[in-house]
Symmetry: D2
Subunit: 325 residues, 4 copies
């Protein structure tokens, strides 16, 4: 049983609170949030206590912290928690500023820090990677990552999000790095505003295609839209020398209705809370591994690398040519 | 090039006329039909001539006949064509009366007679049989044959059809015999009138389940309804010792529409003209094989055997117990 | 928080222990099992205590009991728990003897007893029922229930199981009753021994097809085999006046491998622990509802009715005709 | 009945010969090919005659010509046939040289010329376009066109092919134009040699991703590889404001084998002769429409436009930036 504290009692914090509280290997000892009421209600729900950040970091019985606070605090809290010797479960992105993130690399690259790219823990994408690694389809040649949200966030969210590439595609850049098996050397991206003109007014795009290339010539396309019209669209196709592996969307059930217009499957799971529920649980399992001495499978350097791809993509949209890394 | 004549210019006759006329190995030399206008228009369409039945049978240059006339003429015309030395392509069923069909067996069992159970020539069911025969799933143990029409025929058709078992399920009895690999020894059937009360008033059922058993204990369920609500429903599942093979319905295209209710496939092909178009062509290919000396893969004895199963099923519905064969 | 006790620390008991222990609405206060070691290890795992049956029934702070002991104790323990005023979560079947089960009906039909037919709580079958009830495909006409185990149990299990119909098909009889919307009036069944000759030596069958009919003529086929060759095969097709609803098997992931032989989906979930994991959780939710005053959605009378169908099916196999109920 | 001549008795010529010969609206009056033996055997097969190109063009009873000769003759023969007043069915590409193709536009843009982009006639892609046009998914926003061959052609073919973009992707550029509903204004492409080093030695790529953008910001990705490892991979996804429409690959049958590794579908159709057999027939139907006064649905200008996209893509690979059109 490892005592941990949760920093941030918002939407994603509540997911991690539940998974930590129900995990046989963890004791959720404290919850930190400047919004007293949020912290209080979450602490009550899971039989925990409201504590301050200082308490969390200075209490030697607390082995680790989950950082689920706002993005602008991720880096600072990670540095403080690392200095305090805590194991760290940090929500993505590590920061919105690549230069700043790079400057902290010396202090955090060897920290016991799990950067919470949840998709690496999705059973479907894990199964896809296992097939690729098994060699059943030969050597990887190219990737198609499709990643569309069900509907656009409000402009107020977009305004502080860091833009589509850093906020949304950052997950896909991490998936690309995880699956490509070698680093990306060149990025080209095109973006449009087709979904919501308000997003365009904020200088952001809502629809994008990004093309990555590795040193050996592997190609990867990332397709993003802020709105799919059919729920959460999270698919990957990995083309290899002897075939292809793909992971599809998840439906709410296996039920089909057959009528005069043909066979209709059930709805796709609508968004990340459903689609990645199991991924969040597995992520917590991995945090327990780290608390017990294991090495993070995805860490600070991965966060920096994904951020670098996001910046390159954003730059490419502006300059209209491929950006070298 | 074999000269043949077509007897019967109705719906199914027109299909065979087209396939014969376009077949490089056949010359459709004449069309016989008491309805002068039908015969005439079909002859014009395919550059053929209207002839009488006697002409068709007495013309030694005509090698074979396609019997696509009304069911009550199948047996008589087959006997006359066999006596005239013609190869015969005879539509199913061979007759509606089992005793009469059996009585002609001596004269027809060795005739060059192809009994046109079209489903044996469907590419999907042929692929299913090929997989079963290959042993990839081990030894067959049981079958599920699903065979539902899109919508019920008019009561006037039902009245002269011979009933659901002889008219509709006869195809499924043949499929069962073809796939089971041994003869059926016991038949139990239950029938209901759920689709159209007019069918019940005629003493027939529109919904039935028939359970067949072979000597070694293989079980086969045949599911029939005169109305599916979603097009032509023609599926088979073959359970074997190491897995299962199944053949599914055919859709009009591979197109799917993904919307807020999930993924919707395209319509199923609506009825036999679409679903079995290729089967009819392959059936004609096989008739050419027979004209060139090949042995019919499905002949008179198969027609009698399927009819025997249909009569047993109809009897079982009345007596409420399994009927031995 | 309701205090409950678990009776039976075997395979299924361990599932319920986990779900009860992790349920926010329950406190797993005690575990009863004649096998001291099993009870002890399960109690430790979930921070509970080993208690005796008498303690469980006499402790007024314990609101309910989960009966997951051997089948021959289900009825006796249910009667004792009902007499003690407990809410009851009883594993299926209620008993192997229909007459005995009927004789206890007076005492148990109104008990707060949840008979644990887990499939009613499967999200896929619940979605199927919801579609049927919504009327989107019109009025139900017939059902196809396919229920095959991955591989046969050892003969030692079969010997005490009560036979395929009472042990395995009992679930399917309950599903049929749940979905048909009216009682079954006639049962015909055919059984064979095709999977394991040892099963036949014990007087049981390993492959069966059962045909049910309701008063209004709805037909239902139940297909059972003790071995599928491809994992747990749990599917339902519900044919109605305007279409069909079906629930399919569940795969381990959405991953497909595309190779020279075509597209291969992932494995099917292998057996009930995987397929019905969520059903077991939902079943526990419903038990909490009952503890809070709700009415059991499936109770003692449902257990008796399913057992009656199982006995009728077994009799039909012997007599070779439909058995009236 | 329109008399037509076929120019070119090679692989694709033989397909068109068959479809023309079997078409009720066409009479295949002559076959032209410098390879006397090829012309002769094809003429015999379809009961036609070998004629010279001059005969074909000067015979006023011949209404149209099918140009299925080598690519370098397409433009010249089209010009001569147009001058002779013939309707023209010309294989793609119109030419390998964009400047030359443009220079002939004045003479050919209004010709009765059908440029044979066969995919426009594929039933699956036609169904996809019909759904898009119907508005059922709202307004188109982006396209994903996946177009991989089963295995690479021999280097000798590649050497004279014009390169991946003009030879293979040209079809996809046409599909993009057909579906996007507005002209492409910008092209970015990345190419690699991953399949066969010999292709790289010839200065060509065998794997490419091309990103197109229209004036309103619609984005289209074209994915190409000379080798899929699983047959012919021809799929399109069209994302729109209220959902997505997609057309999938075609399998050889609907058969599935279910075994211990899960459900395996049948093979995908291996290459264009199978996948586009029906498209070739529909293309011929449309040529008959044109002979009867209809307007070509795809003509010379479409050939030039697709060639322009191919050249831009090839240029983009070299310069590493988006090329404006």
């Amino acid at each position: 049983m490892h005592k941990i504290a949760l920093i941030g009692a918002g939407r994603i914090g509540r997911i991690h609170a539940r998974n930590a509280a129900l995990h046989p290997g963890l004791h959720l000892a404290g919850i930190v949030d400047p919004m007293e009421a949020s912290a209080q209600s979450l602490a009550q729900e899971w039989n925990s206590s409201v504590i301050s950040l200082d308490q969390a970091l200075s209490d030697d019985s607390i082995d680790g912290v989950i950082i689920a606070s706002s993005t602008d605090t991720h880096l600072d809290y990670s540095l403080r928690a690392a200095a305090a010797g805590k194991a760290i479960f940090c929500e993505k992105p590590i920061d919105q500023d690549l230069a700043r993130a790079k400057s902290a690399a010396g202090q955090l690259s060897d920290a016991r820090l799990l950067l919470a790219f949840n998709r690496r823990f999705d059973p479907n994408f894990q199964a896809l990677k296992q097939r690729l690694d098994s060699g059943v389809v030969g050597t990887l040649e190219s990737l198609q990552i499709t990643s569309n949200d069900p509907s656009p966030p409000p402009p107020s969210y977009v305004a502080v999000s860091g833009g589509l590439f850093k906020d949304m595609a950052i997950h896909d850049f991490d998936m690309a790095r995880w699956l490509l098996g070698e680093e990306v050397v060149e990025v080209f991206a095109a973006g449009s505003c087709l979904v919501d003109p308000e997003i365009g007014k904020l200088g952001d795009v809502d629809t994008a295609r990004t093309l990555l290339r590795t040193a050996s010539g592997r190609l990867c396309v990332i397709a993003n839209s802020r709105r799919s019209g059919f729920g959460y669209d999270q698919r990957i196709e990995a083309y290899a020398s002897a075939g292809m592996v793909r992971a599809d969307n998840v439906t709410e059930s296996t039920v089909q209705v057959w009528g005069e217009n043909g066979a209709a499957a059930d709805k796709f799971q609508n968004f990340f809370l459903d689609r990645y529920a199991e991924a969040y649980r597995r992520e917590m399992d991995h945090f327990v591994d780290i608390l017990e001495g294991g090495k993070p499978s995805v860490g600070y350097a991965d966060g920096v690398a994904a951020l670098a791809l996001a910046e390159a993509a954003a730059e490419s949209v502006v300059v209209g040519k491929a950006v070298k890394l």
